[in-house]
């Protein structure tokens, strides 16, 4: 039996870990595994900061996986937004594996974080921030295609980041323009700069191909589940956002009731239902419309997804102006009391 030196032992313990020789990074620990590869934390020795390093399992720079990882890095680089994790670097390691580094987000996954957020308005505000990031990506012509609680991180200062753009689909230029034309006010940030990511459509079709099903059951739109990749548009992500909203409100993507047995508010249930309609044409046409409905609900206004009865209108009116209504009621009660006392 061959004797293994301590050095050999250390190397073998790190078998399959990326060989970072010749790079500015030092490996720290593995934090996640996905379908394509593994995510580690690493230290950038030049800038002395911690980064997340995503690396493929297998070497090679021209395979499908390498193309996907490179494309994911380019998508992230093109989506400069506070709600989307920024990419720092991309390259190939000494062991031939393609990698990219990005900001290391110290926070909690949404599904874990939400356990500590009891207030429904707070949950809705988190949802609106997710919508901001997704709307921005759509305005840039990028679909996420895997929106789910596990892919949303909430940082220690409340920052909300949409992660894992590995399944992102880059829409054709004209489709991207159509998203913008649908609502000129769609992008709430600066006008998108010219990017070259739209030219990657062909590459994407090679990678995913028509009929390939990728996504997460429960959050994946029916058309995505059918593998109808060519016809996916922003409304597919809207379906996922609807399931995500339902999860935020009920803890499950598909059941419209909250754990303590109370019924979900009809307006919110209607927003979820409209977003998750089986037919894309029945859903919100874009993320902004959906976010607007959620904002209106938060402001105590009627939402577009739900036609209220008189009773519901009155109840909402009462909720919104409860203070003034109670003040007037108290005033009137006092007046009546005074009149009664005077006429005795």
């Amino acid at each position: 039996m061959k004797f293994l030196s301590d050095k050999a032992l250390e190397r073998l313990r790190g078998a399959e870990t990326p060989d970072l020789a010749g790079t500015r990074y030092r490996l720290l620990e593995r934090i996640a595994r996905g379908g394509m590869g593994v995510v580690y934390t690493a230290e950038d020795e030049h800038l002395q900061r911690r980064v997340a390093l995503k690396v493929l399992d297998v070497p090679g720079t021209d395979g499908d996986l390498a193309n996907r990882l490179n494309r994911e890095a380019r998508v992230l680089a093109a989506l400069e937004h506070p709600g989307i994790v920024p990419v720092h670097d991309v390259g190939t390691l000494a062991d031939g594996r393609v990698f990219y580094t990005m900001k290391f987000v110290e926070g909690k996954r949404l599904d874990k974080f939400i356990e500590s957020v009891a207030s429904m308005p707070d949950r809705l505000r988190i949802f609106l921030r997710i919508c901001d990031a997704v709307a921005f990506a759509h305005a840039r012509g990028v679909l996420h295609r895997d929106l789910k609680p596990a892919n949303i991180m909430v940082g220690p200062f409340g920052e909300v980041l949409v992660m894992d753009w590995g399944l992102a689909k880059i829409l054709r230029e004209e489709a991207s323009n159509r998203v913008r034309e649908a609502d000129p006010q769609a992008t709430i940030f600066e006008k998108p700069k010219q990017t070259n990511i739209a030219s990657d459509t062909t590459e994407l079709s090679v990678v995913t191909g028509h009929g390939t099903v990728m996504g997460t059951p429960g959050y994946m739109s029916p058309e995505q589940a059918r593998g109808d990749v060519q016809h996916l548009d922003a409304r597919s992500d809207i379906f996922s956002l609807g399931a995500l909203l339902r999860f935020l409100l009920s803890g499950k993507p598909e059941v419209a009731s909250i754990p303590d047995g109370h019924r979900l508010d009809k307006s919110l249930a209607a927003i979820c239902a409209k977003a998750t309609e089986a037919a894309p044409v029945e859903r919100y046409p874009n993320v902004q419309e959906m976010a607007r409905d959620v904002s209106r609900y938060l402001d105590g206004l009627a939402v577009g997804a739900h036609r209220e009865s008189i009773f519901e209108k009155a109840r909402r009116f009462y909720r919104r102006y409860r203070f003034f209504i109670l003040l007037i009621a108290a005033y009137l009660a006092m007046r009546v009391l005074i009149l009664l006392l005077l006429h005795r």
């Binding site: 039996m1 061959k2 004797f3 293994l4 032992l9 190397r11 062991d95 031939g96 996954r109 991180m153």
Partner: protein, 252 residues
């Protein structure tokens, strides 16, 4: 980054080997024998080195005690008394070694055992060479807690050495001897200055070929080592814990 779901069919290795703890309870005598030989192959060297250092025994006594211990494991069916829910097999065996050596010392004799035979070749001279000296300096004997670490480290060394042997056999069977030589040159004998480029020149192949060969060898090594590790654990929980200790992270 997000804690992504573990994808099915990732690098999880197939559970092809049965745990020795289960196998020794088998009604099939051959399976029991195989399990015990597997245990002996992985543990004899750590046990020998542990007896030499922890019990400060000269080489000839340590050899007798090591052989005696494994015969005792066979004869007294010590493995059948191990409860995987109470601890790790490795810790149990180390405690058994301590108890065995202590009892032997109290009895002041070496028991003669008959009938049972160990079929594993025990290269004590090689183990002695690894220890670096034939006489142990009492001052150099580490503290008890670091002796536990030593036992663990030697056990890992033994496990990996067996996995390297298996990998070599696999490479020979698949006519990939060059791959094994590359693996040997870079991962087993290489230093920090050894580079893929240097190996590509030395072997007259492209850097990409070196990269692919090393990636394959490492993947296979890890698979084999985990397979052997699974065999030497009493439960899935123990296996996961040991795999994390051996490779730094989950075996999934």
């Amino acid at each position: 980054m997000t804690q992504e779901e573990v994808q099915p069919g990732g690098d999880r290795f197939p559970p092809t080997r049965r745990s020795v703890v289960e196998a020794v309870r088998s009604i099939d005598a051959e399976e029991r024998e195989r399990a015990l030989q597997a245990l002996c192959a992985a543990y004899w060297k750590p046990v020998y080195k542990y007896v030499r250092l922890r019990w400060n025994r000269p080489a000839d006594q340590a050899q007798d005690l090591t052989q005696g211990f494994f015969l005792e494991v066979l004869e007294r069916e010590l493995l059948e008394q191990f409860d995987p829910h109470k601890g790790r097999l490795r810790t149990y065996l180390r405690v058994c070694v301590d108890s065995f050596v202590s009892n032997e010392a109290k009895a002041g004799r070496r028991q003669k055992r008959g009938g049972t035979v160990l079929h594993v070749a025990l290269d004590f001279a090689g183990a002695e060479q690894e220890l670096g000296a034939t006489v142990i300096d009492p001052a150099a004997i580490p503290a008890p807690e670091s002796l536990e670490d030593l036992f663990e480290k030697e056990w890992l060394r033994s496990l990996f050495a067996l996995a390297v042997e298996d990998l070599h056999e696999l490479c020979v069977a698949r006519e990939r001897e060059r791959t094994f030589r590359l693996f040997e040159s870079y991962d087993l004998e290489g230093n920090d200055k050894t580079s893929y480029e240097q190996l590509s020149k030395e072997y007259g192949i492209s850097v990409a070929d070196v990269t692919n060969a090393l990636a394959w060898a490492r993947r296979e090594f890890r698979r084999i080592a985990l397979e052997r590790l699974r065999e030497l654990c009493g439960s899935e929980e123990e296996f996961q814990r040991e795999a994390r200790a051996a490779f730094g992270w989950d075996a999934k």
